[in-house]
């Protein structure tokens, strides 16, 4: 048992050290990642300006025309989001994606299967998925240690967009839990896709489709509330929206208190499902796998 712990601890430590080699590049890269937010701010400002103008025009003609006008006053909303909430949403999805995105995981597994590097996990007493999970955790830990500065900086600059301020304690707990679960879900989801390579060898086009779908259906691109009702119904049954939308929606109080616990539970179930799936796939895959040469 202690040997196991020491082994996994060593893996984690080595990966951490590896990650800290390029600190400066890392911090700069993180800050750059916020640049697209700027264009989103301007894009949505323009959209809201147009919506507001349209509603005041129609409001002048007929008072019932101002459907988008909220009852409280002149604040324009789109699908229940005010401009500030919209921008806050984008900032929060950045946060969610910092946890749930797994760049290079699936393609890495596929590459190892293809070029036979996966053999080392057959020989060494190291579990492949566990090893990858630990290196990924190390990667993320290193990432947060450095990224916290640019993140804090940007969130401080943008604090005005969070009109509701900090959510209450219960919500905050759900938020943090859902972020952590988003990490695990993202990992096992993508690992499962990478493991398909035991059957297909080349998964890059599959991965492309997956990334596209994730971008769209996880809520990374826009709040899922903007979708038409039917599509919204479908999306809530998919695991993808837990990767970005759900944590952000919890934080912004878009999800009622009783529903958020259920949501968290469903998210946990998805995590378990994908842990199981990736285990089965690895087992089956290794039985299919044949390695040649040294």
């Amino acid at each position: 048992m202690t040997a196991h712990v020491v082994k996994w601890w060593t893996i984690l430590r080595i990966s951490l050290e590896e990650r800290f080699v390029y600190r400066g590049d890392f911090a700069l890269g993180t800050l750059m990642r916020f640049l697209p937010i700027i264009t989103q701010i301007f894009l949505w400002t323009a959209v809201f300006a147009a919506v507001e103008q349209a509603s005041t025009q129609s409001g002048a003609q007929a008072s019932e025309g101002a459907a988008e006008q909220s009852a409280a006053g002149s604040a324009t909303t789109v699908a229940g989001y005010s401009l500030s909430a919209m921008i806050a949403y984008y900032l929060l999805t950045m946060m969610s994606r910092a946890f749930s995105s797994m760049p290079g995981l699936a393609s890495g597994i596929a590459l190892q299967v293809r070029n036979g590097e996966i053999k080392k996990f057959l020989i060494q007493p190291v579990d492949m998925i566990g090893f990858l999970l630990l290196t990924r955790m190390a990667h993320k830990l290193a990432y947060y240690t450095i990224a916290i500065l640019p993140f804090a900086f940007v969130f401080y600059l943008c604090r005005g967009y969070f009109e509701l301020g900090w959510p209450d304690m219960q919500r905050l707990v759900v938020y943090v839990c859902s972020l952590l679960l988003a990490f695990v879900l993202g990992f096992f989801l993508e690992a499962s896709i990478g493991l398909i390579s035991f059957w297909f060898l080349e998964v890059s086009s599959l991965l492309f489709v997956y990334n596209l779908l994730t971008f769209f259906l996880s809520g990374h691109m826009f709040p899922l509330d903007l979708l038409p009702d039917i599509a919204q119904q479908v999306v809530t049954y998919l695991p993808l929206h837990y990767l970005a939308y759900f944590p952000a929606a919890v934080f912004l109080e878009k999800i009622p208190a009783n529903e958020m616990w259920i949501g968290l539970g469903v998210q946990a179930l998805w995590v378990l499902a994908f842990i199981g799936l990736s285990r089965v796939m690895l087992n089956r895959g290794l039985h299919r796998y044949s390695g040649f040469g040294g």
């Binding site: 590049d25 700069l28 890269g29 750059m32 640049l35 697209p36 700027i38 264009t39 301007f42 894009l43 400002t45 323009a46 959209v47 300006a49 147009a50 919506v51 103008q53 349209a54 789109v78 699908a79 596209l212 971008f215 769209f216 691109m221 826009f222 903007l226 979708l227 038409p228």
Partner: protein, 242 residues
């Protein structure tokens, strides 16, 4: 893919910007223009730019330097990624679809003029040249930095600004961005000018007649300055081999 996002946006608004005039189909022309330029850049230049930083790191640039041909030409056109050209076809489809809708809309239909079909490709070409210049300049920096892994990221973030109508930046501190990305790194004119020529041909009559000239000047200056940066960078090249 982005089109899904904009279809959804246009479910909630009929225009981007108050007086920007980018309604749904005008904006789709804009989007098609973005796709044209991106597909051309990705087909012809992107693979080469990535290759270039690798050539520097491995020292294989020596071979390119030895050949009796202009180095920039050689490394710019070595490879082509034909698969990226599929987006070009998509762009044609989207453009045709939007133009059909624009010309047949009941209020203020768009009338096409033959000059638009000459100017549009020409300014798309200008846009591609600006993008190419930025790419060459970025790729050249890897001579100084040794390795430039973030090249693609940097490229993505800079060109990200070019994907939106320039009007959206024209408020508050956005003016600073607008100025920087129009006159310093002219990414905003890349898509905006050809898209405007196609979708809003009536507007340049007023105070906006000078935009095509700005685009032209921007193209010339970008190409020349990227050439200068490239030459300068080559001067600093130290082979990586023995």
């Amino acid at each position: 893919m982005n089109i899904g996002f904009y279809i959804i946006i246009f479910q909630h608004t009929n225009m981007i910007g108050e007086e920007g005039g980018w309604k749904q189909y005008e904006f789709f022309v804009f989007l098609a223009t973005t796709w044209f330029i991106n597909s051309i850049v990705q087909t012809f230049f992107m693979p080469n730019a990535q290759e270039f930083s690798e050539l520097i790191r491995t020292g294989n640039l020596d071979f390119a330097l030895l050949k009796p041909i202009d180095t920039q030409f050689l490394i710019s056109f070595q490879k082509m990624d034909w698969a990226s050209l599929s987006n070009f076809v998509m762009a044609v489809a989207l453009l045709v679809y939007s133009l059909i809708n624009l010309t047949s809309q009941p209020e203020n239909p768009l009338t096409l003029h033959w000059s638009m079909f000459l100017l549009y490709p020409f300014f798309i070409f200008c846009g591609v040249m600006i993008m190419y210049s930025i790419m060459v300049a970025l790729a050249s920096t890897s001579i100084w930095l040794g390795r430039n892994q973030t090249l693609y990221n940097c490229w993505f973030y800079i060109t990200n600004f070019s994907r939106y109508p320039m009007e959206i930046y024209q408020r508050g501190w956005g003016w600073a961005l607008w100025g920087a990305f129009t006159f310093v790194i002219p990414v905003l004119v890349v898509v905006n000018i050809p898209a405007r020529i196609m979708a809003q041909p009536l507007r340049p009559v007023g105070h906006q007649w000078y935009w095509p000239f700005i685009a032209l000047a921007a193209t010339l200056i970008s190409v020349l300055s990227s050439r200068f940066v490239f030459k300068k960078a080559l001067g600093a090249y130290r082979s990586a081999s023995s």
